[in-house]
């Protein structure tokens, strides 16, 4: 352990002596302090949170992310190129320990920078919040400066439902011409999704949401968050609605009429103790307007309730960001084990962009391939080798990327949702242990097997 710590300390010393820490700290602090001053918020609580929390935290993550990639590539590749590594590996230290020491060094550095910048953002947020009008400040305290648990309706298994429907229909009807089975399955699936989220004019929709353990949410007022998409995006639309909460067979119900705006999330409170003994909250909504309402599957309707304060939530959010940075450090270090510094930096940044823009991968999976996609149906009709390889590869990459992307601490913090301990544990396991571990294993293996004396300048 002494050896690993010696390497970690050396990496930290390098960062400090080459003034990387100082420059990064100044840059980060300047970014999180100056940005909110330059971009004026609209005086509302939500505008405030958007600028102070979303923008600054996103900028901080981006800056730290790129710095981490650059530093991790440099800290190993440069030492190999400048041959200092020859002196190190000639000593009784295993190469995997060298890798681990470098990784730990970068993690400590990230932890320091994240703590300083995070503390600045936190302090600035609280300080600026006092300047909001009292009404907006109250909204801020209730909706953003809290850690709220979010509950949504569990989505049905659209794939299984689509398969059932197709199987039934094919019993009596022939397969439609020019459509492959996967293409047909996708069409049916999309229809099911639309049906699930669409509420036509004059229609009623029902949700059954598991809000949580009834004992834990007893006497706790619940917040309902609604977000509706209009049929045509961009048009200012309002929907007249009627809502009922609670079991329709009992008298324990709450009803209200509400004018819901399009494209903008609204929140309203309902009384406590409306859930069933199983913790289920039944919700019914009538669309009295003349237009169809579209509830996005991900965040159309949510039940929220307070489970903690903003401070600990902010801390957990930062730890999730730290997990991302640890993954980037592992990526950079592993690339540097076999690539020169400039090539490793370029490659890792390219990987980062692919990981951030998963649209293409999703499209490959949805369309069933890359080539020969039928423009009419939007699906690859005929099976080809390239498509047969591309789809599983895209699926595997998507799955891998989503292990890291499936967390949204910045969104959660700026909308007052809780980054729960469970979520944090999952982030640590999926990002720090599974993904970073995989990259570490690859990096350590390559580093152990490579000749180090051939790379020097």
């Amino acid at each position: 352990m002494r050896r690993v710590l010696a390497i970690a300390t050396l990496s930290l010393r390098a960062a400090i002596r080459y003034r990387v820490v100082l420059v990064m700290a100044v840059l980060l602090l300047a970014a999180v302090i100056i940005l909110p001053l330059v971009i004026k918020d609209d005086g509302t609580a939500r505008g405030f949170s958007q600028i102070i929390l979303t923008y600054t935290l996103t900028l901080m993550t981006a800056l730290l992310g790129f710095a981490t990639l650059w530093l991790s590539c440099g800290i190993l590749a440069r030492e190999i190129e400048d041959a200092q590594m020859q002196m190190v590996v000639a000593k009784p230290i295993a190469r995997w320990q060298v890798w681990l020491g470098k990784w730990l060094g970068i993690l400590v550095l990230n932890a320091i920078l994240l703590a300083v910048t995070g503390a600045a953002v936190y302090g600035l947020t609280l300080w600026r919040a006092d300047k909001l009008p009292p009404k907006e400040l109250a909204i801020l305290q209730n909706e953003i400066f809290v850690a709220r648990q979010s509950a949504r309706e569990e989505l049905p298994d659209f794939d299984a439902m689509a398969n059932d429907i197709i199987r039934e229909r094919l019993k009596s009807n022939p397969m439609p011409e020019g459509l492959s089975l996967p293409a047909l399955r996708n069409i049916v699936k999309e229809q099911l999704k639309s049906k699930n989220s669409l509420v036509p004019p004059g229609f009623r929709n029902q949700w059954e949401i598991y809000a949580g353990n009834p004992a834990k949410i007893k006497n706790l007022p619940l917040t309902i968050r609604v977000k509706v998409d209009p049929p045509v995006p961009g048009i200012e639309t309002w929907f007249q609605t009627h809502w009922e909460f609670g079991d329709p067979n009992t008298r324990n119900q709450f009803q209200t009429n509400l004018l819901v705006p399009g494209e903008l999330a609204i929140e309203f409170k309902i009384p406590a103790n409306l859930v069933t003994e199983n913790g289920i909250l039944q919700i019914r909504m009538d669309n009295y307007s003349e237009k169809a309402m579209l509830f996005p599957l991900e965040d159309g309707l949510e039940v929220l309730y307070r489970i903690g304060g903003f401070g600990p939530n902010f801390f957990r959010g930062l730890v999730v960001i730290f997990c991302w940075l640890s993954l980037l450090a592992a990526l950079g270090l592993s690339a540097a084990t076999f690539l020169s510094f400039p090539v490793a930096s370029f490659c890792t940044i390219a990987v980062l962009f692919v990981c951030l823009s998963t649209g293409t991968l999703k499209q490959i999976v949805t369309e069933g391939g890359i080539i020969e996609v039928n423009p009419n149906s939007g699906f690859a009709d005929s099976p080809s080798i390239i498509n047969q390889v591309a789809v599983p590869v895209a699926k595997a990459l998507l799955f891998t990327f989503n292990l890291a992307r499936g967390f949204s601490p910045i969104d959660s913090l700026s909308s007052g949702r809780a980054v729960t301990w469970g979520e944090l544990g999952r982030a640590i396991f999926q990002i720090c242990i599974l993904l970073s571990g995989l990259l570490a294993a690859i990096g350590m293996l390559i580093f152990t097997r490579r000749e180090l004396a051939t790379a020097q300048k």
Binding site: R13, Q86, M87, V89, A90, P92, A453
Partner: protein
């Protein structure tokens, strides 16, 4: 002469235990596509015994450093087999017995001397107290105790070599691999390094010395291997390789002309006139330079650079040292002006010695008076002083005034 002095110092006889075994070692560097680019080492085999100072000699690019790097596991052999302490060069625990000084100072420029030694000490898992103690002794030994807080990046090449040497010895290694250890060092530093190598060998340590400087190898090595084009061209002890079996050299103090004539007459009976040579040996520049520096040191001239190493670190001297005549004083002893160098002595070269009868040789030496210990009188001392000062001025002009 220093060389003579060094070689006369009692040395541990190399044991029969092999520290390094190299068999059929070949290294072919390949390009990106796996096509052979250069055959750096070609079917090389040798062994190094415990306690030996083994020299790898050869011109630049002959495969010395490649061999050293394969011994350290930094390069992998294309063919062949290497064993160090009966293990693979890539076996991590074995590396705790090895000290390595690369051909360039691949040090961390942002660390100071203390931090550098502390870092490498940590890699050997040495406890803090031991690291501190050894660092202090090593810095003292390599003459950098006054520069312990200066960053290595600010050091001159020679100072970097010194700190590199110190880090190679922090673990009190059983095997020391030194790649061009004297490159960039001033003559004083070179001498100290050579003394250190001898001191290590005396303690039973094995030393591998790779160099293209013949004097380095000649002064300290027991056995050498000579590389050219990646192949071993010659291997053996220095005596085996350098002895000229058909010549003999007699060294004596100044002799009266008549005595000299008598000696020549005796020799002429067995050797042809054109094969006999008489000359006066001169001291070499290295020794002269050391005299000048020692003089300056005695006058306590200040220097901002590396000072001369004072003594071999205590932990490197070990217990065996005491019995064998304090090795810690080797540097002092060797850097002092040596009596036999003080005055020139005639040199007689006799060839075709096969026919030279041992009996006559004995007789000749018996007839000679015992060599008196030279105690320079005042006039010669004065002349020497003037000469030294003149030469010192010349050197100062050439090398710059001491700071």
């Amino acid at each position: 002469m220093t060389v003579l002095e060094s070689k006369l110092a009692p040395k541990v006889t190399p044991s029969t235990e092999n520290v390094i075994v190299v068999r059929g070692l070949t290294k072919i560097f390949k390009d990106f596509w796996g096509r052979p680019k250069a055959r750096a080492v070609d079917n090389v085999s040798f062994e190094v015994k415990r306690g030996e100072v083994f020299g790898l000699l050869g011109p630049n690019g002959s495969g010395k450093s490649t061999t050293v790097k394969m011994l350290l596991g930094l390069l992998f052999p294309t063919k062949g087999h290497i064993e160090i302490f009966e293990s693979s060069p890539r076996h991590v625990p074995t590396k705790s017995r090895i000290g390595y000084l690369p051909e360039e100072s691949y040090l961390y420029k942002y660390l100071d001397s203390d931090e550098t030694l502390d870092f490498f000490g940590n890699l050997f898992d040495l406890p803090p107290q031991e690291r501190k103690q050894r660092s202090e002794q090593l810095l003292e030994m390599v003459g950098l105790s006054k520069a312990r807080r200066r960053q290595v990046g600010e050091f001159s090449k020679g100072m970097q070599r010194r700190i590199g040497l110190a880090q190679a010895l922090i673990n009190d290694p059983d095997l020391v691999i030194l790649d061009e250890p004297t490159s960039g060092l001033d003559p004083l530093g070179c001498r100290e390094v050579k003394d250190l190598i001898l001191a290590l060998a005396k303690r039973g340590k094995t030393v591998i010395l790779s160099s293209h400087l013949l004097s380095d190898v000649e002064d300290v090595c027991d056995r050498v291997v000579i590389y050219y084009g990646g192949k071993i061209q010659a291997i053996g002890t220095l005596n085996e390789l350098l002895a000229a079996p058909d010549q003999v050299r007699i060294t004596a103090p100044i002799l009266p002309r008549e005595t000299l004539e008598k000696v020549l007459q005796v020799i002429r009976k067995d050797a042809a006139e054109d094969k006999i040579r008489i000359d006066t040996p001169t001291q070499n520049l290295e020794n002269y330079f050391l005299n000048v520096v020692n003089k300056a040191r005695a006058a306590e001239a200040e220097t901002s650079g590396a000072t001369s190493g004072n003594k071999v670190a205590a932990y490197l001297r070990g217990g065996a040292e005491e019995g064998a005549g304090s090795k810690s004083r080797i540097l002092e002893r060797l850097s002092k002006a040596e009596p036999e160098l003080a005055g020139p002595a005639p040199l007689v070269n006799v060839t075709d010695v096969q026919e030279f009868q041992n009996k006559k040789l004995e007789q000749l030496t018996k007839n000679e008076e015992p060599v008196p210990t030279r105690t320079p009188d005042q006039s010669t001392e004065k002349t020497k002083k003037v000469e030294l000062e003149k030469a010192n001025e010349k050197l100062s002009g050439l090398l710059g005034k001491p700071k």
